[in-house]
């Protein structure tokens, strides 16, 4: 008996060590990625300061001018537009599906959302090129500007919005469904309307989860490459309106990775762009985590 118990304790200790190694490995991968990117970007960082690289606007690799501001701004603006559009859309869709829709509507919509979420991003890109780009250049932009090719910040934001929408709806649906029915009953029993119950009870209970869902969606949106690359216009400039072309960091990487060997410092510059993306996503996650902890502490 004692021998058998010893074996059980030994197994328990072994599995705890294995799991700890796995956790350390996960952190090590992230750290290795950051260090690898930094080392690869070192040739560029040796003759340019980080501040200089982040604030410069000119992108002329052949003349050793590497200004990343247009790319950083494009990334942030495209993500912001996508999120601004996707957040209310996904929120109200999820509220409708969980709080108002009949069972047959849910049975119809949920599989459609799963299909949308699993589509390869190139399909969204093609859809954007064939539908969104002409729509903007022919029907929307003429009301605001003299000329727009349609390959714009707006097109990128719209395509990205549609791409993150299924993910956000699914996450919100999961969150709202997880709110105990007793809370809904407690509110309804006092004479609250379904909307009052949703707004004051269901959404309120879900706020920490909603913050986490938005973080996940933003992280996905920031790194989205192919679809955005197909509709953004790929011009290294700071967009001054939604009808200007833009050039987010992932598109810069994907477009130029094959050509980098011919120009000195180009490889280092592209690695630096990957490092910026990495740090931006990391910072965003950290800030969100701080907000999330504050919200949880308040509850």
């Amino acid at each position: 008996m004692i021998h058998r118990n010893r074996r059980r304790v030994r197994r328990d200790k072994t599995s705890a060590i294995v799991m700890m190694v796995m956790v350390i490995a996960s952190f090590a991968f992230v750290a290795a990625m950051a260090v690898g990117l930094y080392l690869k970007a070192q040739p560029l960082l040796s003759d340019h300061s980080i501040w200089q690289l982040l604030t410069a606007r000119e992108w002329k690799p052949s003349q050793n001018e590497f200004g990343f501001l247009p790319f950083v701004m494009s990334t942030l603006l495209v993500t912001a537009i996508a999120l601004l559009l996707a957040l209310p859309l996904s929120f109200f869709t999820a509220v409708y599906l969980t709080e108002y829709a009949r069972t047959w509507v849910k049975k119809l919509v949920y599989p459609a959302l799963d299909i949308l979420a699993s589509l390869p991003s190139v399909i969204y890109g093609v859809w954007g090129t064939l539908l969104i780009v002409p729509l903007i250049s022919k029907h929307i932009a003429p009301h605001f500007v003299e000329f727009s090719s349609g390959y714009t910040l707006l097109a990128s934001g719209l395509v990205l919005c549609v791409m993150v929408l299924p993910l956000m709806v699914s996450l919100f649906v999961e969150l709202f469904s997880a709110v105990p029915n007793q809370l809904r009953e407690a509110s309804t029993a006092m004479g609250a309307t379904p909307w009052q119950t949703t707004r004051r009870v269901v959404v309120r209970s879900s706020i920490p989860g909603m913050i986490a869902a938005v973080v996940l969606a933003v992280s996905k949106a920031m790194g989205e490459t192919i679809a955005v690359l197909m509709v953004c216009g790929n011009m290294p400039q700071i967009p001054h309106s939604v009808f200007d072309a833009c050039y987010p960091l992932p598109a810069l990487l994907a477009n130029n990775y094959g050509e980098m060997l011919s120009v000195p410092r180009y490889e280092a510059a592209l690695m630096f762009s990957a490092l910026i993306l990495f740090v931006v996503v990391l910072l965003f996650n950290l800030i969100s985590r701080i907000i999330l902890n504050r919200v949880k502490a308040k509850d």
Binding site: T103, P180, N181, Q182, L183, R184, E185, A186, S187, T188, A189, M190, G191, A192, T193, Q196, R200, V201, R204, S205, K298, D299
Partner: protein
């Protein structure tokens, strides 16, 4: 000029259930229920597990709407208003008049203060500020919580003990000035001391409110009931004053239930 606090006119009308049938997914749960539940009394609905007590209680303020595939026939009358046929504004007002205290304490995800103020806000019974503050304190006082939560009114309600949470739920229900309070095994999740506190509260509250309580504990019903309804397999078997039902039961099923032959 400050707006006067809205006071709700309270009547002392019995709640009348007529020919009530309810099925869920085609399965009959309540069968031809006919009852007259007296005002300003504690009515205990007793019966074995799964006999339809909680479903009957939920039907009285139409919480059954939140269950899929429910079919209801008959009527539940409060004055001349039929709860079963009510919709829109009328249903919201009827739900305010018939409050519910749930089985499990369910504080809403907000502060203690906001929990009590919740109903008054949605029904616009008090204005924010001093008026609301006075109302919140009044209802916390009514359930004996006011001193216990002093200084932490704005902290999360989930931090209270289970017993305190259930009294908070009662305060929240009282705050919309209902005529009836439905309590669905409201003490089953509580420790004996908290359970006794809530029982005593119900006895005190019957002067101003009519209380309908589902209970699985016969001893509790014997302690506090004025009027008793015994349900078995979705049908009302016997009704009467507590003395009639507990001391002189007419039906064999009631006698067997009271003897503990089934539960």
């Amino acid at each position: 000029m400050a707006m006067k606090e809205r006071t709700v006119k309270r009547t002392a009308q019995p709640l009348v259930v007529k020919n009530l049938n309810l099925s869920i997914g085609g399965t009959p749960i309540l069968k031809n229920i006919n009852l007259e539940l007296p005002a300003h009394k504690i009515t205990c609905i007793v019966g074995p597990s799964g006999c339809g007590k909680s479903t009957l209680l939920k039907t009285l303020n139409r919480l059954t709407d939140m269950t899929d595939d429910v079919h209801i026939e008959g009527s539940v009358l409060l004055g001349d208003q039929d709860i079963i046929k009510a919709s829109g504004v009328e249903l919201i007002e009827l739900r305010r008049r018939i409050g519910l205290v749930p089985q499990q304490p369910t504080p809403l995800p907000m502060s203690i203060y906001d929990n009590v103020a919740y109903g008054r806000r949605i029904h616009k019974l008090s204005r924010a500020g001093r008026q609301m503050h006075k109302s919140v304190l009044r209802y916390l006082n009514a359930v004996g919580l006011v001193t216990e939560v002093k200084g932490k009114l704005h902290s999360s309600a989930s931090r209270l003990s289970i017993g305190q949470q259930q009294r908070l739920c009662l305060a929240r229900s009282l705050a919309v000035e209902p005529e009836y309070i439905l309590a669905d095994e409201a003490t089953s999740a509580l420790d004996p001391i908290s359970s006794r506190t809530v029982e005593d509260l119900f006895v005190k509250l019957k002067e101003d409110y009519s209380i309908i309580m589902v209970t699985h504990t016969l001893s509790q019903a014997q302690r506090i009931a004025d009027y008793v309804v015994f349900i078995y397999m979705g049908e009302v078997v016997e009704t009467g004053t507590a003395d009639q039902v507990f001391n002189h039961p007419q039906h064999e099923l009631t006698q067997n239930y009271l003897k503990g032959i089934f539960s």
